[in-house]
Amino acid sequence: MLERLARPFADAIDKSDNFPKGLFEELGRLGYYGLRYPEELGGMDADCTTFTIFAEELARASMGLAAIATMQCLMGTDFIYRFGSDDQKKRCLIPAIQGEKIGTIAFTEPDCGSDLGGIRTRAVKNDKGYIIIGRKLWITNGDVADFVTVAASTDPDKRLGGIGFFLVEKGTPGFSVGQKIEKISARGAATVELIFDECQVPAENLMGEEGKGAQYLNDILSEIRIMIAGLGLGLAKSAFSAGLRYAREREAFGRPIGEFQLIQEKIAEMEVRIKAAEFLTYHAAWLKDKGSLTGKEAAMAKLYSTETACFVVDEVSRIHGAYGLAEEYPAQRYFRDGRFLLFGGGTSEILKTIIARDTMKKSDFDIT
């Protein structure tokens, strides 16, 4: 379905780097933003596997659209779902599920990416609630968001233990959108600066409890990582099929280049890795649905799938020869989009240390 709906617009979204309003609203009308949420709220009560399939298909069509839509489905709305008051749900969550309002999450700052405990955005308690002061950067959908879930610290000395998430709605005095980052990857999903200049929010806008923010994020972190693994699969498969088509059609030295061994090698390696990534990803999703997922499996799925995607888009660009450079062909868009996957949900470097630290404590492969 996404093939028909979104794929024809992928290049245009990439070139213009504009928010794809029409497509966004269409997905809302079809009910996809409620995938993970209960039917009572207008959702589909879908399991992790289903959601991952959705992420994969989105990415197969357009990475920009995928970034926007997955934000809407998960990170941008989940805190309101879990901790929001009925009023907040009515005002933000329900419309978001219907695609009428746009949500996003803001934790990254200019000096703080992997190191969440080092954020400088402060939330200072006062008699009216909290004042949010700080700057966020790289916020997906930030320029069009109607509401933002903002990570701010009530006690910086506690680092991770001082973080809380706060709901800030568009129109709140002091909350504004800063610069938009021009980028080469996941274009269409604007990543912008958000400025919180003494933004007063009521006490009830604290999502959950003070200082528990990192834990709350951790609760959905595995799901985020599996979702991104799904995005990786979508990109990899899309690029792979483009490469395959080229290898079948392009001729040199009298025959299709796919008949030459070195090209065959690429095809074989890509296919095997994509299959492996698929298994790792959907196995992790299945474990989640069963209730026995550990953080490590999610990290492994994300690591492997995104690295596979980057491998595939590189090889596909090589198969295309000089046409891998031409903007007219999608090979270069896939190539650029791969970069985005390397950071969202944790860089490969961070993930490797997470995985290893866990394994050092206990491993499936320990000899007892």
Partner: protein, 382 residues
Amino acid sequence: MDFALTEEQQFFKKIITDTVDRMVVPKAREIDEKDEFPWELWKDFTKLGYLGLRYPEEIGGMNADPVTAMIFYEQIARGSVGFAQSVIMNILMGTYFVYRFGSEEIKKRCLYPAMKGEKVATMCFTEDQSGSDLAATRTTAVKDGNEWVINGTKMWITNGPHADIATVLATTDPSLGAKGLNFFLVEKGTPGFSPGQIIDKLGCRGTVTGELVFDNVRIPEENLLGAELNKGVEYLAEILDEVRVMTAAMAMGIAQAAYDEGLEYARKRIAFGKTIGNYQLIRAKFADMATEMEASRLLIYSAAWKIKEKLPSRLEAGMAKMFATETCLKVVDEVTRIWGANAFANEYNPQRHFRDARFLLYGGGTHEILKDFLGRMLIGKS
């Protein structure tokens, strides 16, 4: 073995590094963003005289040996790949056959001005259906009286619309395959010679790349650039190794530019209380990058030296090209990872190096072709 550059070569390296830093580096981002031929920089830079790098002093060149030339290619690519592409065209591929086979009249009209940057040169080999497979060239050259008539369409031509002089690969007889190929000089303004569609590119922006159409283009017989007919492939072999090593040198230029960016970032970006240069995984990246860049440079200079000494260099040139390119691709990839999300912001340089490096995969031969060719050389006839 003396691996050192001579004092003269070291001095040349210092000068050209400074020159590129002052003139080219500050313009690199603009060249990439505008994606137009940088006429102003071209005028300023060509005044310095470097376009005559490889040609004899007697005609106003520098008579640089291949090793010295590689130093130049690396630095100019480090400055700006888009600009470097145009520069190297005038220095080598776009002018070589004119230098080698052109009459004095032709040299006066084409070569000497090209060496001063007064004329833009390019070479036209690739066609829509023939990149690696030169034998599949369909552009024809038919003798008619004392003229040649050229017909065909070339593709992926650097600076086609701006080129004042074009060295065109055409066949006198398609059925002869590679044995029918020749080089012809076609000058701007010749009726029937016109630019076609322009290709928007991911990287190497700053050169205008596209189609060139030859529609019954008539050129005088002296415009055949060759002592004998149908020896095009042999003549190409004269500079093929140099072109490959040059590509390898450019790969190091791009790698160095990216590497320096990575170094700066690793030294100042803080995460979890320290600069990221303190973490093993980041340190490992630098160790790997530096090792492979060092190995690449040794291959490059060894191959260049062999060319200089007129020793067989086919194998080494191919090795240098592949290894240096793969190294460069790894370096630009790792640097984008070191930079985190900032790597894909247009505002910073790592994304430009990441995009620019791709052309290395085809310039001078794709790696698949090279591996097959070198493997065959190594294994021998069987």
